[in-house]
Symmetry: C2
Subunit: 456 residues, 2 copies
């Protein structure tokens, strides 16, 4: 929770800096709102909810459908456009639970609604970069392409719009099954290892050649990809205008300092969802590519249509918070802190309770998160074990001796754990060896602050 909260706070910081505003919607929506937008698979995964009025209700399965409902519900006078919102909230899917796949999980969505300009798309991509940078994920790459460019490919290869849907579905498997199988599935199909028949889309060899020419356009330089694309589609109608759109996105990104090392134009990106209509983007962690896309989105100009009967252009992206957290944890990029407290004040002597209270509040009022041990253990050993279990880095020990001498003993739990407990030289032990230092009672706050600074 601490790591997740830290992640969410960081992401919120980026988007509030971008001027996105938070939106909260109820967990429960009318079932027809939810199921009308869901594919067959998603429909089955909706948790049904019963209220006293016996209306048909369900728990939201994403944050985009509630957004579209809100946009349809509030007029432009009530909710001026563009409406640029972020929402971080749990969603529920009654899928089969699996590793990293929960029935309740957190999504972080951001969307700009009522935006035509491709500057909105540029901003989403830049925001993805800034978010991943702020989260300190190490290497990342935002790959983008465009549904409009894929439609040019259909024209270029002489593929109908109906066949196109199947073509994109097959191309989406490229990473998983490889070029050869994709080629065969695009043509006449094949029988796989387990004996299952994979039906073909029915393209000709020439059509598949043209698709392969398109996919062969690869470069680390967005400028080079654009040049090759213009050459390939030189005779395709509308191609210059569509390519201009992604060129402007690319060029604006260069202006803002998002170079080829962070954003690539990757024509193999299609994104699964049917509702995208323009640019699509996804981010991968270059140090943990096995986690796949941790942050993805695109332009969906027609989604609100279903509710409003009116097209409202929109573009957005979504972070799978729990998947990204799993990746960052595996990469060691995010600490698994168990405690908020930095100091545990042990209670060693009942007659000194008011002193323990006073020290605890002194530290808290100095902004140092501090816990006063409130459990039932009397012995200092058990109290130190408690600090250890919660990874509280410092323990404050103040017994009769310290009281008499006007000092406090502070135990560095990390150092104490790493070194064997010495028995020979008590003085040295107290001084440093087991991570214990003493300081005058009056210098408590400054002393603790210094020790915490050293631990960072």
């Amino acid at each position: 929770m601490l790591a997740r909260q830290q992640m969410i706070d960081t992401i919120r910081g980026v988007y509030e800096n971008y001027g996105f505003v938070p939106l909260s919607t109820p967990a429960v929506e009318f079932l027809d709102v939810l199921s009308g937008s869901a594919g067959a698979e998603a429909q089955q995964s909706i948790f049904r909810v019963t209220n006293p009025e016996h209306e048909e209700l369900g728990l939201r399965f994403d944050l985009t459908v509630p957004l579209a409902r809100v946009i349809a519900q509030y007029s432009e006078r009530e909710l001026p456009r563009p409406f640029r919102r972020y929402q971080v909230a749990p969603v529920w899917r009654a899928d089969k639970p699996d590793k990293g796949r929960y029935r309740e999980f957190i999504q972080f969505d951001l969307d700009s609604v009522g935006v035509v300009s491709e500057i909105a798309d540029t901003e989403i991509i830049a925001g993805m970069c800034d978010t991943l940078g702020a989260l300190d994920v190490g290497g990342y790459l935002v790959r983008f392409s465009s549904r409009a460019v894929l439609n040019l490919l259909l024209a270029f290869a002489g593929i109908s719009a109906e066949q196109g849907v199947d073509v994109f579905r097959v191309l989406d498997k490229l990473d998983k099954v490889g070029v050869e199988k994709v080629r065969r599935e695009l043509m006449n199909g094949y029988v796989d290892e387990s004996g299952d028949t994979i039906r073909g889309v029915g393209l000709t060899s020439e059509q598949v050649d043209r698709i392969e020419q398109f996919l062969a356009i690869k470069s680390e330089s967005r400028r080079e990809v654009l040049t090759s694309l213009r050459e390939l589609f030189a005779h395709v109608e509308n191609a210059p205008a569509q390519i201009d759109v992604i060129e402007r996105i690319s060029s604006n990104l260069y202006v803002l300092g998002y170079g080829d090392d962070r954003v690539s134009l990757d024509l193999s990106i299609a994104r699964g969802l049917a509702y995208y209509t323009g640019p699509v983007f996804e981010a991968i962690l270059t140090e943990a590519p096995q986690f796949g896309s941790v942050f993805g989105g695109g332009r969906y100009d027609d989604l609100v249509m279903r509710f409003l009967g009116q097209s409202i252009p929109a573009v957005g992206a979504s972070i799978g918070v729990d998947r990204l957290l799993a990746a960052l944890t595996q990469l060691g990029k995010i600490g698994k802190r168990k405690a908020t407290a930095r100091v545990l004040v042990a209670r060693m002597d009942e007659s000194l309770e008011q002193e323990y209270l006073a020290m605890t509040w002194e530290l808290r009022r100095a902004g140092i998160p501090t816990e006063l041990y409130l459990g039932t253990a009397k012995g200092v050993g058990k109290q130190l074990k408690y600090a250890d279990q919660y990874d509280i880095p410092l323990a404050l020990l103040y017994g009769g001796n310290e009281h008499a001498e006007g000092i406090v003993t502070v135990k560095d739990m990390v150092a104490g754990r790493e070194r064997a407990k010495p028995v020979a030289d008590r003085k040295e032990y107290l001084a440093q060896r087991a991570g214990q230092v003493t300081m005058p009672r009056a210098e408590l706050v400054d002393g603790i602050r210094r020790m915490l600074a050293e631990l960072e």
Copy 2:
């Protein structure tokens, strides 16, 4: 949302400083977990949920029951005690919706589990004070008493434990119906204005006199209340030990600087919930007492018993975030910010788009939340109206003239709204009158920062 989020962040800050750790639990719990802990009324208010396995499930109606379930589920080895957690999350109750009474609302709970020492109770009270202070609510008063002291009252007045439950229920109405009606209900009952019969508890006149002697103990000084209480209960068995407990709480609060002006010992506090076993507390806003208790809690040593068959001492409190927000909004203590952005960059001239982008990112990278206008309006008037609708305080205007002169014009939306638009002296207008200032393009960030500082 912005105001609520700011509130929640402030409260979180206080409790993380106290060393409480965040807990998250699923929205959906097994129905028997929920309904076993709910009273009859609460049971009816549970939203039922259906999963593919057709198990009996429901949405949580509070955060205490999920905490008790977690404590029962994880052993002390997995979740060392004391476990001091906070949780801020929505809860659902299928009640009749009303003003300020929603079916989904946010609760902020904090609890210490596995704590015997009354220092834990002291800490909850101190935390309530620090929270209300940090939220800058103006005047507040935390009132506390103890179920144990109320039990002494039963002994003092010769009331049985069975009758006691009814007595506390009637006393809880004191604020609402007044002394005379409470007196009559405690004895033989009465017929109210609408002709309904209010059944009496059946106490004797002498018993009610003794209750009134107890309730007559009132003072702004906790010390005085304790002295009077000791006198009144001088001959009641166990009284000294029980009064010692609240005296230690009071005395520790004095040591920590929580004086009589912030925490009062108020013997009329009973708290409705049946599961409290020791100290109980609630906070009111002295400037808005009509909102009642905005933050309340108590010690409940037996609640976990139901799950674990073993008593685990615990103490906690809960803030009704939405009710407190309503109170703070009415008191004008919390701003209704509509935007996160502090600056709107208007798009006035297509040929300058890359300049707008560059300025937007310059400001963002300097930590100034900035929005680039992404809507469809071309005219600057409509773009300024948009800034006005979202209460964005500054608008950055940069057209052909500014570009030629190497300056930017910044419009102070608040000043611009307050003053009539002047027409006579264009120079002065540009300089100050309508809240417009110009500054060299190169000094944009510093200039904006200065203007925002003046607005605070």
